[in-house]
């Protein structure tokens, strides 16, 4: 199997799907001539031409609005919003148009729109480029929210997102672009949306982690394994709809749960998981559900504050030990 980076997995997914279905096209700032602000659309302009790989003005509302219109007209657009922080500029198109079209037209119009965007938490690029807004969009019914943590998941999930008739917010992380993984060389390799992946099997503590936090959870699991603590790491991969069945089955087995997230605790992903576990698995819990998240504050400029921001492996190890105490 070929080894691919996260970034090339995304490019491959788009190329394969554009080749497979000529209704699929890509729009966004610098996606065409520049090959993507982060290089995640390299080669696509040459392969598919300027009609299907289009640079846009710096107007997020127009980018998503065109995507919504094109999707209603029968195309299957992929639009790129450079940073997830910019969703505020196009939230009406996302929340009030894309998310509701299927519903308000009673299915007459479908909304096969993919909004690719990047979360750049912990890269030191300040309060406007460091947010984790998956919970913000996951709050809106009608949207699917996908957040892959590995190249293979990124490819399989993006291909599924492009083939999905519903609007999908596809959240990448720039810091993960260069990690590598073997990926099946198969143009029909898909990972279904809404299905969590057990990244590591364990029996003592369930750690639910998403995006950037998955690798840290796995590192922490490896560390405490030496102490005899067996950690199961679950990556939901799709934030909405969330695969609670897999999480609940794991917690019912381990009786302890930690949720690690780049998004804030307050009304966040961890809160949602903890609450659902409380409802589904209350009588299986031997400890309160724990959450690890960045502090409830805007992110500062500079990497010198990293240790105060996202949970690291040491914080996860400490929380796991706490749950086992």
């Amino acid at each position: 199997m070929p080894t691919k980076t996260y970034c090339w997995a995304i490019i491959d997914a788009m190329r394969e799907e554009m080749a497979r279905d000529d209704r699929v096209f890509l729009m966004g700032e610098d996606v065409a001539a520049a090959g993507g602000a982060f290089g995640a659309s390299r080669g696509l302009l040459d392969a598919f031409g300027p009609a299907r790989v289009r640079d846009t003005p710096i107007s997020e509302e127009i980018i998503v609005g065109m995507g919504v219109g094109a999707a209603m007209a029968g195309k299957r657009p992929i639009v790129e919003i450079m940073f997830i922080d910019f969703l505020g500029l196009c939230l009406d198109q996302i929340a009030n148009q894309a998310a509701k079209t299927h519903y308000i037209y009673d299915g007459m119009f479908k909304m096969p729109l993919v909004i690719r965007t990047s979360s750049a938490v912990e890269m030191g690029i300040g309060p406007h480029h460091s947010q984790a807004w998956e919970a913000l969009v996951a709050h809106i019914p009608g949207l699917k929210v996908v957040m892959p943590s590995t190249p293979r998941d990124a490819k399989g999930l993006l291909k599924s997102a492009i083939r999905d008739d519903n609007p999908v917010i596809f959240i990448e992380h720039i810091a993960m672009h260069r990690i590598k993984e073997e990926i099946e060389d198969d143009e029909d390799f898909l990972i279904p949306l809404g299905r969590a992946d057990i990244k590591r099997m364990g029996s003592d503590v369930t750690v639910v982690a998403s995006g950037l936090m998955v690798a840290r959870a796995l590192a922490a699991a490896e560390q405490v394994a030496g102490e005899g603590i067996s950690v199961e790491v679950i990556d939901p991969r799709t934030i909405s709809p969330l695969d609670f069945d897999t999480i609940a089955a794991s917690v019912s087995k381990t009786n302890r749960c930690l949720v690690v997230s780049s998004s804030h605790k307050n009304f966040g992903f961890g809160s949602e998981v903890a609450a659902e576990i409380g409802e589904r698995c209350f009588f299986d819990l031997d400890q309160p559900v724990r959450r690890l998240s960045p502090p409830f504050t805007p992110a500062p400029f500079g990497r010198q504050f990293d240790q105060f921001l996202n949970p690291d492996a040491d914080a996860i190890v400490a929380a796991v030990r706490d749950l086992m105490a």
Binding site: N255, F282, F283, D284, L285, D286, Q287, A325
Partner: protein, 395 residues
């Protein structure tokens, strides 16, 4: 000021009772001598009459326990005063009854004592399924939380003991009374038990003759009746045995009242044959039959159970030879008699077979010295071996 309604002391050993009923309601007019309430002690129910007149205000609930002297109500000048009275509500007994024996059984779970009980939902569920009260477990989690491992440990510990575990029921009622009396007996006196073998041949002959004449006598005289009568005769002669230590005094009783242990299905009661020294065998037999029948029917009155000065316990009827009976406080002596069995004994240089019986006597060694106890035993044995001599004292 109102007249206090208090729990009376109905017997020498009465310590507490259960208030089982009120005959009057709050505000009712009560005349002196009217039945006011009902209490239960030692499985005996007694009605208590008002010792003054007035309007009643009840301070105690039915089915609560109280010590002797506890104020459970008041009698007032007017109905309004009674209804307005806010007397101190009589506190039920549980806290008062701090006897060392019972206190030893009070288990206060650490978690409960420390405040809120912290049990994980999982631990609670597993405990419930296993029939374990998580409140009784020691939590090893944060801030004393009971976790699954604590319940698992309890289950594992229980698995060491085969079966579903011990069955528990409250120590209450007659059993509680017996338990308290037996413990008091051992704690409050110095008990010494001595034995003597008695040749019962002549008692056997005497009884055969009495049974043969049952129709004429009107009652079937038992061995117990004969032994009881013999005890009464000796006790009348030996007032030192028919005595009690009560507080700082030695009380020598003016009556010979012999308690007779009667086993019930769920306990034991000791009704009393009063003035047994002055009663005939026939009277004793009749009284014994009546008391035993009423004991088994649960219809003994308080007056049937009090004022005993000595106790006779016939454990021979259930196959015993000798025992070490416990005194029935404040009595100073108790006699246990075993079964009459044919035994090989030496008599006048010959080996003979005689119907023998063992006397097991416990004395309060504080009051009764070994020599006195020995003399009592010897006199009793002499009477039983020559029962005809009892005729000598007949008036």
């Amino acid at each position: 000021m109102a007249h206090e309604v208090a729990i009376p002391k109905l017997g020498l050993t009465m310590v507490d009772c259960t208030l089982t009923g009120w005959s009057k309601a709050d505000g009712d007019r009560v005349e002196k001598g009217e039945v006011l309430f009902e209490i239960e002690t030692d499985k005996i129910t007694s009605e208590v009459e008002a010792d003054a007149a007035g309007y009643l205000r009840r301070f105690a609930e039915v089915d609560t326990m109280h010590t002797v002297g506890a104020v459970i109500g008041g009698l007032y000048e007017t109905r309004n005063a009674a209804l307005a009275a806010t007397g101190v509500v009589a506190v039920a007994l549980e806290a008062v009854e701090a006897e060392p024996v019972e206190a030893a059984h009070v288990v206060v779970p650490a978690a409960a004592a420390a405040g809120r009980l912290r049990v994980s939902p999982l631990a609670r569920r597993i405990a419930k399924g296993a029939g374990i009260d998580p409140g009784g477990l020691t939590g090893t989690g944060a801030r004393g939380a009971v976790l699954r491992r604590d319940v698992d440990a309890a289950i594992a510990g229980r698995a060491m003991v085969a079966g579903p575990g011990p069955k528990r029921r409250p120590l209450a009622g007659l059993r509680k009374t017996i338990a308290r009396n037996m413990m008091q007996s051992l704690q409050m006196s110095a008990q010494m038990t001595a034995f003597a073998r008695v040749d019962m041949a002549e008692v056997v002959a005497l009884r055969a003759s009495l049974v043969a004449n049952e129709a004429a006598l009107g009652v079937r005289v038992s061995f117990t009746d004969i032994v009881l009568k013999a005890c009464a005769v000796v006790l009348a002669r030996m007032p030192d045995i028919n005595s009690s230590i009560i507080g700082d005094e030695i009380v020598t009783w003016d009556e010979v009242n012999i308690g007779l242990a009667v086993a019930l299905d769920d306990g034991l009661v000791v009704p009393v044959v009063r003035r047994a020294d002055r009663k005939s065998l026939v009277e004793i037999a009749q009284e014994r039959l009546d008391l035993a029948a009423r004991a088994r029917a649960g219809r003994l009155g308080h007056e049937d159970m009090v004022a005993g000065t000595f106790t006779l316990s016939n454990f021979g009827s259930y196959g015993g030879d000798f025992e070490t009976p416990l005194l029935n406080p404040p009595q100073s002596a108790i006699l246990g008699i075993g079964a009459i069995t044919d035994e090989v004994v030496a008599r006048d240089g010959q080996i003979v077979i005689r119907p023998m019986m063992m006397l097991s006597m416990t004395f309060d060694h504080r009051l009764i010295d070994g020599a006195v106890a020995g003399r009592f035993r010897a006199e009793l044995r002499a009477l039983l071996e020559r029962p005809a001599t009892m005729l000598a004292g007949l008036r």
